[in-house]
Symmetry: C2
């Protein structure tokens, strides 16, 4: 069996198509439709209960046609998880000025980049996180490595802030990192677009909360 | 069909047993074992994919024996959701002194009560939240009403803090409430007991974050 772990160089986040399929027959727009359908079906029914037939009929194609794109249902879950985590991982890229800035500035910039990314996450995005445990060990390991990269990035900023004296030295960097990622990522669980507030407004609340909330508690008067 | 929505007056959180079963034949310890097994199976397989047989065999009883306790698989999901949300709702009860205190004090006390409750939540607790959407409309409505009660309680504290001038007047109480509940509840998604930090340590981090993070940004010198 061909493995499907290589990323295509087209910028698509799906697994590489099985080797037996000539590339010319694959349609990128259709692949995205299939992924969206899989996301919706997994989200509604749960990954284990979802059937390939449900996904095919949502796209309006025959089940057999799906097998031009994937070999197993798990290929779809993996592609969705890669998609979501690639979107998350993109938010750790800093421009040079930000990279050289102090920790509160870098943290604020990260929160804003993350909140700018969120509106592009589909409604079924929680699937990519929730069902990662159902992937094969190798694929799960790859996704966890992406997740760890985001953690390491944020944790380094927290450690920098403590070293600089901008953040409270009593903070546990791992606890701060985990809970901040829950805070930011948790937005997708309650935020509904179209109301009074935008993602960016919510982001400014997070920035202010962290700006004041992570400071050393007692500062001697200057 | 008998409905099973009434709560028993024994303090148990399960749905009432079907009327046709004499109470004397039901065993509370066994009922808790069944609920735990259902939680684990729903957590691992997803609610839709879980089979009554899986739950029965985990408890070591025949599938038929399960029907002394429930009528449908949904009864188990509902009992788990009631259980989790009852645990959450218990954290909104304040003693008289706290009830009369200012908003930062009440908020800190709530965070501490919530973090004291978390260790009693089973590992499968996310099921109770995640799969609520799969309950029948009436049962889902009941669970959502419990959730709304927690929201209303916390939101009132945020509004009190703004009115008192302890919290930034620019805060949106709904955004603060939703994101704080994600922050607190999100702990179950990353925290593993037995390490350097306890739930209570993490709670103190949240208390400090909020104490400083929700204050009005610019305070004139006194």
């Amino acid at each position: 069996m061909a493995t499907t772990r290589e990323r295509r160089d087209t910028g698509s986040l799906g697994p590489a198509p099985p080797e037996s399929v000539p590339r010319g027959t694959l349609n990128e727009a259709r692949w995205q439709e299939i992924l969206d359908a899989a996301g919706v079906v997994f989200h509604e029914k749960g990954y284990r209960a979802a059937r390939i037939e449900d996904i095919a009929s949502r796209v309006g194609i025959l089940k057999g046609s799906l097998y031009y794109y994937i070999q197993t249902k798990e290929d779809l879950l993996y592609a969705l998880a890669l998609d979501g985590h690639t979107r998350g991982l993109a938010t750790v890229h800093e421009d040079e000025a930000t990279m050289a800035a102090d920790a509160p500035t870098r943290l604020g910039a990260f929160v804003r980049r993350y909140m700018e990314m969120l509106p592009s996450a589909p409604e079924y995005a929680p699937v990519a996180e929730r069902d990662v445990g159902l992937l094969s060990p190798e694929r799960r390991g790859h996704i966890m490595a992406m997740r760890n990269e985001i953690h390491r990035f944020l944790r380094a900023i927290v450690e920098q802030g403590i070293a600089e004296g901008h953040f409270d030295a009593a903070l546990d960097p791992a606890v701060v990192t985990n809970s901040l990622l829950e805070l930011l990522h948790g937005t997708i669980r309650w935020f509904r677009a179209g109301g009074r507030m935008t993602h960016s407004d919510v982001g400014e609340f997070y920035v202010a909360l962290l700006e004041h909330g992570l400071r050393p508690p007692a500062r001697p008067p200057e």
